[in-house]
């Protein structure tokens, strides 16, 4: 590792030396002409010398070239190219504004360029989606959805309809780092997993890293979903919104100071009582969220951004059951240009997840959650046209509230109890270099040093031999050990410290401008664990830090891919194979109690996980007909062997399928622009059924019929999952030349009304007293209509 650091330091020096001739830097920001919204991933190209750069997350670019006269081309699909002759004889700062090629209702619909592959960039296993694509994808109940959209990409699945979260390359839902404007989102779902927390109107761009994850990111082992909110229009005031069957949205944006500052406020809420007339009881279930963003350009070298998100789910059943949960995020950022080659961003982020529950029929209130404060300082150094260095530091302080219970009324029998709060600090220091060795070979290499300190807490159990779980050799049961003592710590004490070095390496070898192969390796460490023993996480699940009894998860991932761009990027083909293994994946003893448990270590065993597979993505990027075909062949499994030869472990220590293992996964997404009035889109999905368990027998105990599950865990399969969704978008022609722009989206989810199995359960029918296998399916055919507007 030291060698890598020395090598890269040498390379930095070497580069500087080599290029200390007459060289000048062109830098600036690229934004959209109509709104000043900065554009991410715009190509700044010098075709004669085959050099180029793309704009970063804040629309900034910088490139250094020898003195000369060049053709400069700024290109971003859906926008008019800027081609001009540039005499580079001194350092120059030029901000470009791109103009859309045509009048369209949805200004982001045309940014699909961001989704196309970059043949020479070593970054692989990366999928990008624009807000426009997300809004075009037909979805259940017509509610455009970020998470549901990424499920159509290769390597991404979920625990089924209604299941929260998503699974990337056979990883668990808690192994995804979900960032909204750089702030961690702990629960990405509304109404369990039916909708996601991201309002598509407020989103500019998203990237999903499935592998080859740059050193900039850390803390989760499976993927990074990096979502950027729009900044707001600093030229004109605009409102857009939509009315759907489930929810309505409205978003306002406009200048605070023209061309210098803008605001954006977006709100979305589902209807609480829409479905209630069908039920004669006083129940409600709804969600809402609020997105805000302010930005202000202080001067050419300084920008500040303030972004916020607040979302809640609310359930109220007859005033007897009240449940509120959601995320809050606040982020203050300062972009500063130290020079035309050194871009920096300082972020101060607060985020939390709150879960509150009141069960009046039992007589208690419960709340739990996680809070964190995050300080990030990231630098991007455009050292030369062939060498860019990203480096930074990131420190996160966590406060975990595993739960607190209180009586909710005087006559309640419940006594108040507070579970022991937990505290931790996670520090990451990284550097990442993108190094163009030749026109064919580009390397990306970096390392992240992560350090996690489990800080002192009021009480921590100690156990004989530090072993909180004991095994009964007679009954083959695991159970919690009796603590032998309790240690009290000061908040500043370090109960346990972990330090890990996480190398990340990637390369791309381009045969020509259209074809390349890429390879990557990344090691990552995850210090937080979501305690969840269900097939998909529930909102009630709590996060717990690594510490004395829970070890951090460690991942190694290897991936190789072949990338081809065809017919001038009209088509692209991406194929990848990957293998990953994760150490210290926690598993749970039989009958584990994970909620309101102060001694969670008594329920946990240490296991491992692995996944491997092949992904194929064929895309058509241009024309009236666009879309993609994605296929994934993969395997995801885990095992938890016994700690000693006597112990059985989980599933007798053998490998078993994770609940989200899907052998085959095909998704086809397509859209067709029939004319300027009608647009059509369709999805088709086929997946191997989820792993499940069938009983090998039954027995009777206390007059209950009890199924026997003594086979391999998750070795059976639900029937395969498949469905077709279609949508049609109508843009009335009268929209032309008027301020008010409206659009109707008609969609049908699961067109052929297939009853896809969400689960199959085995029990005795209460009426017939016969044993049955009962299949639950969630969505049948669901037609929907949504109206979107903008003015």
């Amino acid at each position: 590792m030291n060698k890598l650091i020395t090598t890269s330091i040498f390379l930095i020096l070497f580069n500087n030396l080599l290029h200390s001739q007459e060289k000048y830097t062109l830098s600036g920001t690229i934004s959209e002409q109509s709104s000043n919204e900065t554009l991410i991933g715009v190509n700044v190209l010098f075709p004669e010398v085959s050099k180029g750069v793309v704009t970063n997350e804040y629309g900034f670019y910088s490139i250094t070239l020898p003195e000369g006269i060049y053709q400069l081309q700024i290109s971003y699909l859906g926008f008019q190219d800027i081609i001009q002759t540039l005499n580079l004889s001194k350092d120059q700062k030029i901000d470009f504004q791109l103009e859309e090629t045509s009048e369209m209702l949805d200004e982001v619909v045309i940014t699909e360029d961001v989704e196309r592959i970059n043949i020479k960039n070593p970054q692989m296993s990366l999928n990008k989606l624009s807000a426009g694509t997300i809004k075009q994808i037909p979805v259940v109940l017509g509610e455009a959805d970020v998470i549901k959209s990424i499920l159509l990409l290769p390597g991404v699945t979920s625990g089924g309809e209604g299941a929260s979260g998503f699974n990337v390359r056979g990883g668990a839902a808690d192994q995804n780092l979900i960032l909204l404007d750089e702030a961690t989102i702990f629960n990405s779902s509304h109404l369990f997993g039916f909708f996601s927390v991201f309002n598509p109107d407020a989103i500019k761009d998203l990237k999903l890293y499935k592998g080859g994850i740059p050193a900039k990111y850390g803390g989760r082992v499976s993927s990074v979903l990096d979502i950027y909110q729009k900044e707001g229009n600093s030229k004109k005031f605009h409102i857009n919104g939509g009315v759907g069957l489930v929810a309505s949205r409205i978003l306002a944006e406009g200048p605070i100071v023209k061309d210098k500052g803008a605001f954006l406020v977006g709100g979305r809420s589902s209807y609480a009582h829409l479905f209630l007339p069908l039920f004669d009881i006083d129940n409600s279930a709804y969600f809402y969220d609020l997105n805000t963003k302010l930005n202000y350009k202080i001067n050419e070298n300084n920008n500040i951004y303030l972004s916020g998100y607040f979302g809640r789910d609310v359930f109220n059943l007859n005033d007897s059951f009240k449940n509120v949960y959601g995320n809050s995020v606040l982020n203050l950022r300062w972009n500063h240009l130290f020079s035309d080659k050194l871009f920096s961003n300082l972020s101060l982020i607060y985020s939390d997840y709150f879960y509150g529950l009141e069960l009046d029929f039992v007589g208690f209130e419960w709340n739990s959650g996680i809070r964190n404060f995050n300080l990030k300082y990231d630098f991007k150094h455009y050292i030369s046209d062939g060498f860019q260095l990203t480096y930074g530091i990131n420190d996160i302080y966590y406060h975990f509230n595993p739960g607190e219970i209180k009586p909710n009324r005087d006559d309640s029998g419940i006594t108040e109890e507070k579970l022991i709060d937990k505290y931790a600090n996670e520090l990451g220091i990284y550097f990442d270099a993108e190094h163009k060795i030749s026109n064919q070979l580009t390397l990306q290499y970096g390392v992240r040093l992560s350090n996690f300190i489990r800080l002192g807490q009021d009480e921590l159990n100690s156990y004989e031999n530090d072993n909180p779980v004991i095994f009964d050799a007679q009954t083959h049961n695991y159970s919690g050990a009796e603590p032998i003592g309790i240690t009290t710590y000061k908040r500043s004490d370090q109960i346990k410290t972990f330090t890990n070095l996480e190398p990340r390496v990637a390369l791309s070898l381009a045969f020509n401008d259209e074809t390349s192969i890429k390879a990557s390796y990344n090691r990552m460490t995850q210090y937080l664990h979501l305690l969840s023993n269900t097939n998909a996480p529930t909102p009630l699940d709590v996060w717990t830090p690594s510490g004395k009894y829970v070890k951090p998860q460690k991942l190694n991932q290897y991936a190789v891919g072949f990338f081809k761009s065809l017919q001038n990027d009209s088509y692209s083909l991406e194929t990848e194979v990957f293998y990953k293994d994760i150490k210290n994946r926690i598993d749970y003893i039989d009958g584990a109690d994970l909620i309101a448990n102060d001694a969670i270590e008594q329920e946990i065993l240490n296991g491992e996980a692995r996944a491997y597979g092949l992904e194929l993505l064929l895309r058509k990027n241009t024309g009236k007909f666009k879309g993609w075909f994605a296929y994934t062949l993969s395997k995801s499994e885990q095992r938890t062997p016994g700690r000693t030869p006597v112990e059985t472990g989980i599933n007798n220590g053998a490998w078993y399928n994770t609940p989200y293992d899907k052998t085959h996964d095909i998704s086809i997404n397509s859209s067709y622009e029939y004319n300027d009035k009608w647009k059509f889109a369709a999805n088709f999905l086929f997946q191997t059924g989820q792993p499940t368990n069938y009983p090998s027998g039954q027995f009777v105990y206390q007059d209950l019929i009890v199924p026997i599950y003594d086979g391999q865990r998750n070795s059976e399969r639900l029937p395969s999952y498949n469905r077709l969704d279609i949508s049609a978008t109508l843009t009335p022609r009268k929209n032309k030349n008027r301020r008010w722009q409206g659009e109707w989206v008609f969609s049908v989810y699961n067109v052929y009304n297939r009853r896809n199995a969400a689960s199959i359960n085995f029990s005795q029918n209460e009426d017939t007293r016969r044993n049955e296998a009962v299949q639950t399916s969630i969505f049948g055919i669901v037609p929907a209509v949504t109206y979107n507007f903008k003015f």
Binding site: A285, G697, Q698, Y701, I705, R755, F762, Q775, F779
Partner: protein
């Protein structure tokens, strides 16, 4: 949690549904099942002791018959004084009762060992009488989550000095378990929602004292015998009771040997 999920599901997706499907389940080998959960109703006059032991064989899940086991030797040893209570098969096949009526009234602070010999293999398990508290009253509430539900509270007062685990029998094969962790020493109203009860129906609720190990067993038992659909299920587990096979430790018996002090109370449903 699952209940709320199902409710949201029913509110959101009026088209979601359940279908009975044909599944070929694997067939395991038949295993001996020992159902020895004793209830000692000590405040009844005379003391009522439910201490029958039911022996049967496990069967394929879609097999029709659970076979009773008759040709077994069954006895209980009071470990404290090595006295033995012999069990014989009653008129009901597979149900074994003490050979002399009233011969066996379990006492506190004694360890009892159950021995079953069947098919040349010997199974043993031990249990102690676990104390509990009487039901103070049964109350009817007017809350409910779904239609056709009747809210009933089983009210009992926990003992502060003791870690208590409870098993509640609501009749109709409906059971629940609870621990006193969040209501230690308090009077607690345990809610239960009956389906399809009519005014004037009579219900009887029993409360049983259990230990932590049995609570965990019963929790899984209740969950696995009546699972909820959807994505929030825990993986089913191989239920292992407290019965050992001393002849062949790999070939275990299913079921549990447990002795509970118990109380019961009846209630007549009123029009809410």
């Amino acid at each position: 949690m699952t209940k709320v999920f199902l409710l949201v599901l029913s509110m959101l997706c009026l088209l979601s549904c359940e279908d009975v499907v044909d599944i070929d389940t694997p067939e395991g080998t038949p295993q001996l099942v020992i159902d020895a959960s004793f209830r000692i109703y000590s405040d009844e006059q005379p003391i009522q002791v439910d201490n029958a032991i039911k022996l049967s064989l496990s069967a394929p899940f879609f097999g029709n018959n659970i076979l009773a086991v008759s040709n077994a030797t069954v006895y209980i040893t009071d470990v404290t004084n090595q006295s033995r209570i012999t069990y014989v098969e009653s008129d009901i096949a597979g149900t074994f009762i003490p050979d002399q009526a009233d011969a066996f009234i379990p006492q506190f602070n004694r360890t009892y060992e159950l021995t079953v010999s069947y098919d040349d293999e010997t199974y043993i398990a031990t249990a102690n009488l676990i104390p509990t508290v009487p039901l103070d009253e049964i109350k009817q509430g007017d809350g409910s989550f779904f239609d056709e539900e009747t809210e009933i509270f089983a009210v009992y007062t926990d003992v502060k000095e003791r870690e208590d685990y409870y098993f509640l029998d609501f009749g109709f094969n409906e059971y629940a378990v609870s621990e006193d962790r969040f209501y230690n020493g308090q009077t607690f109203d345990f809610p239960f929602y009956y389906e399809d009860l009519e005014p004037n129906d009579q219900i009887t609720i029993s409360i049983l004292g259990i230990d932590k190990q049995y609570l965990q067993y019963a929790e899984i038992l209740i969950e696995q015998s009546d699972p909820d659909g959807g994505p929030f299920q825990t993986p089913p587990v191989n239920l292992r009771g407290n019965i050992e096979n001393t002849t062949n430790s790999e070939q275990r018996a299913l079921g549990y040997f447990h002795i509970a002090q118990a109380y019961k109370l009846s209630y007549t449903v009123i029009t809410p």
